[in-house]
């Protein structure tokens, strides 16, 4: 892989590209904040970023540390409540969300609650859902941005914190989740994945420069499908990297860690 950018810079740049102008995007903490801000400063000046603590469409003066801090409501259209923005999701007003997680399976189910052990006494307790379950249940399209390795991409997650396609086609609707919602893309440091329409299983759609399908499969704990027209992801451009480093995250909160 080209060494002019680090894996996190790659994740942020690729993540930002799937955001469309004039769409509503519910933004989770970390990499998604940087990706949204990069999109806003490049190809999506009118993207409507929504944050779970209640801010809508800010013109962020710098990288937020929190999805609830004052930068998320700087020159926003409204500084509202969590109830209000979650209800907007439930009403069908939110197009995309971007999430992360400690584990993900082939149906896009995410775990950010616990690893191993019993529920009341887990080996490792993680933060929990936060807003992730709400967003993946209620937004139209759920994107995940995460580094790819066998520890994260697992056959079965220890705990479904946040619903993907559960166990296949129709399962979300059977459980009672709103129809027409679900996982859309997974952006990793190696490739972009989507989902097969019939099986709802994860499939590789675009390989990042210099990465092979075999390499992706080696870093994944379950069998991946391959899109018929496998593409090569264009690498981050100089302009994307400049905006990211100079304007989005000059303090290196996300890309420098």
């Amino acid at each position: 892989m080209c060494a002019d950018y680090n894996p996190l810079e790659l994740l942020v740049c690729i993540g930002s590209r799937i955001i469309e102008d004039n769409s509503t995007v519910f933004v989770g903490t970390g990499v998604p904040m940087a990706a949204t801000m990069l999109a806003q400063k490049s190809h999506c000046p009118n993207v409507i970023a929504i944050f779970e603590a209640g801010a809508v469409a800010p013109q962020m003066p710098g990288m937020p540390i929190s999805v609830g801090d004052s930068r998320t409501s700087y020159k926003a259209l409204i500084a509202s409540s969590m109830n209000d923005v979650m209800e907007a999701c439930q009403r069908g007003m939110v197009d995309y969300t971007f999430l992360g997680g400690a584990q993900i399976d082939m149906y896009g189910n995410l775990n950010s609650t616990m690893l191993g052990g019993e529920y009341q006494e887990p080996k490792v307790r993680l933060p929990g859902s936060g807003g992730a379950n709400d967003l993946a249940s209620l937004c139209w399209k759920t994107n995940v941005i995460t580094p790819m390795d066998k520890r994260r991409f697992v056959e079965k997650v220890d705990f479904i914190t946040t619903p993907g396609y559960l166990n296949g086609k129709g399962a979300r609707e059977a459980a009672g989740l709103p129809p027409g919602t679900g996982p859309y893309k997974v952006i990793t440091n190696l490739c972009i994945l989507g989902y097969d329409d019939e099986t709802c299983r994860m499939r590789v759609e675009s390989l990042h420069p210099g990465v092979t399908f075999e390499q992706v499969q080696e870093n994944c704990g379950f069998e991946l499908l391959k899109a018929d027209n496998l593409e090569i992801t264009p690498p981050p451009t100089g302009e994307e990297l400049r905006i990211l480093r100079e304007e989005v995250d000059p303090e290196g909160y996300i890309i420098g860690r």
Partner: protein
Amino acid sequence: MYDDLIGLDAGTEELFTDPDPDKAREFFHHKNRGLVNKVTTIEQAVSVHIKDGDYIAVGGFGHVRIPTALLYEIVRQKKRNLGMAGHTSIYDSDLLATAGCIDRCDISYVIGYEIRGLSASARRAFQSKEIRKTDWSNGALAWRFAAAAAGLSFVPSRHMLGTDTFKRSAAKTVTCPFTGKKFAALPALYPDVAIIHVHNADTFGNCQITEGILVSDAYLARAGKKVIVSCERLVPHEEIRANPQATTIPYWCVDAVVEVPYGSHPGNMPGEYWFDEDYFKMYLDAVKTEEGAQKVFNDYIYNVKGFGEYLEKIGGVKKMRDLRAIEKLIYMNKC
């Protein structure tokens, strides 16, 4: 795989609070409606209104507009066996869990510090079965407060279904009587005490949150049987009357008012001061070991006389002036 989750009609974990709206009405029936002076001290607010075993909920967003001074006082007074809504919680639940104040928690977000990583001390506390846990999502707890604020026993919603988050909750499912659709049913959450930090309050407890996000605080203040408010500044009653649309929390919800300038430090107070990243780094490094956690709690909570002395210790006026400059975009650095 996962079939058991898809058809589940009730969560398996404990419901820590009573959702009965008539019991809540009975409580609110006797709540004081008088426009009376509720201004008190941090020590009195906590000692009079919070008792061991109470279920508490904290306003703000974990490290944004949090009532730090009240939280420190709860720790200092060694309150025990508290229940807690771990709703968008960060420094707040970390403090109370690490200090051994809570024995049960409705969790939607704990342990994490967003992009700063995790608190080792909160992780130790929440991994232990000493704290009984029931999981939810942030939206679920926000709507549970809203159901209580509306005087109801539950609210239907369309998330959590099909997941372990639902299984490890105390939610149920319900069929809509109009459409026949399946929804989650979230039990109303009436906390014994809500503690909330705001920008402005008058002596009666009318509150304005003048900048930044509201999270669920308008609902939380109405859901709480008792409410303790800390404010950056007391304002004359006439300022409330002059702009009634700006009243986020009306006085009749509120039992005690405490004026605490910089009362959300090390959190961000929108429009007032930015996060104290130096403090968070020091704290998160210190609590990696139990000894370190004990020392930082001794140094900044147990062995300081009050919030004033704490503010001197973290850098006093100069520090708060720097944090204000970052917040106001006068100059920016990592601080």
